[in-house]
């Protein structure tokens, strides 16, 4: 659900407002730091997924 939510808001003016680059964060324009924040959120979701997904605890091996 988190990933679907992040994917949807990516294409809204919340992340990509047209012709707007303020407010800046650490000198980065708005869309860039929001984009970086989204990338960070995807990373966090994957790390959470590793802990909770059934496949991660399954002792499966190919070799």
């Amino acid at each position: 659900m988190g990933v679907v939510f992040l994917s949807i808001i990516t294409f809204t003016p919340l992340v990509i407002p047209k012709y707007t680059y303020l407010p800046e964060l650490f000198g980065l324009p708005y869309t860039l730091w929001m984009g970086m924040l989204l990338s960070l959120c995807f990373t966090i979701l994957i790390f959470i997924g590793i802990r909770v997904h059934p496949g991660a605890t399954k002792n499966e091996n190919n070799s």
Binding site: F11, I16, Y21, G27, S39, I46, H53, G55, A56, N62
Partner: protein
């Protein structure tokens, strides 16, 4: 710079030879050759997947994309890749389970079994062949032109292309997937180091990130938001790209193979997590390099921007390392894609191990020759052609997705729908069909059409089975 170039080239080629001799076994089976014994750990997985994904397109194309179109390039690729890495995590679970129950030699072969018809495999193979071949060719062409510009007296453009293709052929045919995975690891490592040092130098030139973006604002403040100075990053464009990139682990065989050959599910998940970190590091560096170019090389051609920023503005040693890194990037990504075509071909043919291996090696040689011919003939637009490759192959993703996810045999109408979408997209590229339908981009419209067909197919089949039972 030339001395450093030869030193790094010798080290790089030495590492390649070392990797291929370490992985070479005289009596290996075809699965050892094509699927690396399905025993790849997380770290190697991250590096090989990153190398297959981050080609010359990342090294040369993305900084230029940031320079010309601005910060929307982050949404275009970095956010799409973030979602795609999560997709590896989710889809990988089902793909690996299906591969265990049905058997995996290549996606085409596996889908033929799942759908109960060879046509499913053929359409996947055709899609991969049509859209991967020009993508490989454009990379080889791009790097050959670049090398020719740096060393005009050494070799003509086609000479560089021939060298890349010959190394690629020898390496793939002799070493197999495991050797390719090791060469990928060397490339990914090189790419990260070089991009980060150059990215750091680009920020250092302006004193701070703040100063860098202040200068960009003075040059053209449209670079700091979407749709960018040329209006490329519309919501439709970004959304269609997002869908195409998201589906890459399903739609492009070099990625699905890398998921299947991981040692275990746990290692696959670790690979997905590692990839998000590596990708973010790569994209941050390309953003800084691109913004540096936007200020310093505002009106320069792509080639001048790249050669100045990656080479002439850097120390001799770093410039030489960048050239070797570029060569490595093209070699490993091209190798991954051509080898993936070989795997797909192999999964569609039958026979004893020896004859299948021989036929596959001949097919690999044939694909390589086709790529070489294309690379000499094509025009250059690296990033947009990469996007076309992602989008084109995404038209076959529905067959793959439904085939992997459904427990029952899926309907053959999906094969027909994917084939229609594939050829409509192809005709739209050739301008026989308009690239918009009622104000909607054709690629986005085709994704919608495929989603609708999947929904109808699954619903009707579910109702039918309920009636029958």
């Amino acid at each position: 710079m030339i001395t450093w170039f030869w030193i790094f080239s010798i080290i790089y080629i030495g590492l390649l030879i070392f990797a291929s001799t370490r992985t070479f076994k005289k009596d290996r089976s075809i699965d050892d050759f094509m699927l690396a014994g399905s025993n790849i750990g997380a770290l190697l997985g991250v590096l090989t997947y990153a190398a297959a994904l981050f080609s010359a397109f990342i090294f040369m194309g993305m900084p230029d994309f940031f320079r010309v179109h601005g910060v929307g390039a982050w949404i275009f690729l970095a956010v799409s890749d973030g979602a795609m890495f999560f997709f590896i995590f989710w889809f990988g679970y089902y793909l690996r389970n299906k591969a265990k129950t049905v058997g995996f030699k290549g996606m085409s072969g596996m889908l033929s079994t799942i759908y109960g018809t060879k046509w499913a495999g053929y359409i996947v193979f055709i899609g991969a062949f049509i859209f991967l071949t020009p993508y490989v060719a454009i990379q080889i062409r791009g790097i050959s032109i670049f090398f020719n510009a740096i060393f005009p007296a050494l070799l003509p453009t086609w000479g560089w292309a021939l060298i890349i293709v010959m190394i690629m052929l020898a390496y793939g045919i002799i070493g197999g997937l495991k050797a390719i995975v090791f060469s990928d690891a060397i490339q990914a490592f090189l790419l990260l180091i070089v991009l980060w040092i150059i990215g750091y130098n680009c920020v250092k030139y302006f004193g701070s990130v703040n100063n860098l973006f202040d200068q960009v604002e003075i040059v053209d403040n449209k670079l700091l938001s979407i749709p960018g100075p040329q209006g490329l990053f519309t919501v439709q464009f970004l959304l269609a790209t997002f869908i195409s990139i998201l589906l890459l682990p399903a739609s492009q065989p070099q990625f699905s193979t890398r998921i299947v050959v991981m040692k275990s599910m746990k290692e696959t998940y670790r690979m997905a997590a590692g990839l998000t970190v590596v990708a973010t590091l790569v994209f941050v560096a390309t953003a800084f390099i691109g913004m540096y170019g936007a200020v310093k090389y505002t009106t320069a051609s792509t080639r001048d921007f790249i050669s100045n920023t990656l080479l002439f503005d850097q120390s001799n040693a770093l410039a030489a390392l960048a050239i070797v890194g570029l060569f490595a990037a093209v070699l490993s990504t091209s190798n991954a894609q051509v080898f993936a075509l070989g795997s797909e071909f192999r999964s569609l043919i039958k026979g004893d191990d020896k004859s299948v291996l021989l036929k596959t090696r001949v097919a690999l040689a044939l694909f390589t020759v086709i790529v070489l011919i294309f690379s000499v003939m094509m025009s250059d637009e690296l990033v947009l052609l990469a996007r076309v490759s992602f989008t084109g192959t995404s038209m076959i993703a529905p067959i793959i997705l439904v085939g992997i996810l459904s427990k029952k045999q899926p309907g053959k109408e999906l094969i027909l729908a994917s084939a229609i979408a594939l050829f409509v997209f192809l005709f739209s590229l050739s301008e026989y069909i308009p690239d918009e339908v009622g104000g909607v981009r054709i690629d986005l419209a085709l994704h919608g059409f495929l989603a609708l067909v999947i929904l109808l197919s699954l619903s009707i089949r579910s109702i039918k089975s309920q009636i029958n039972s």
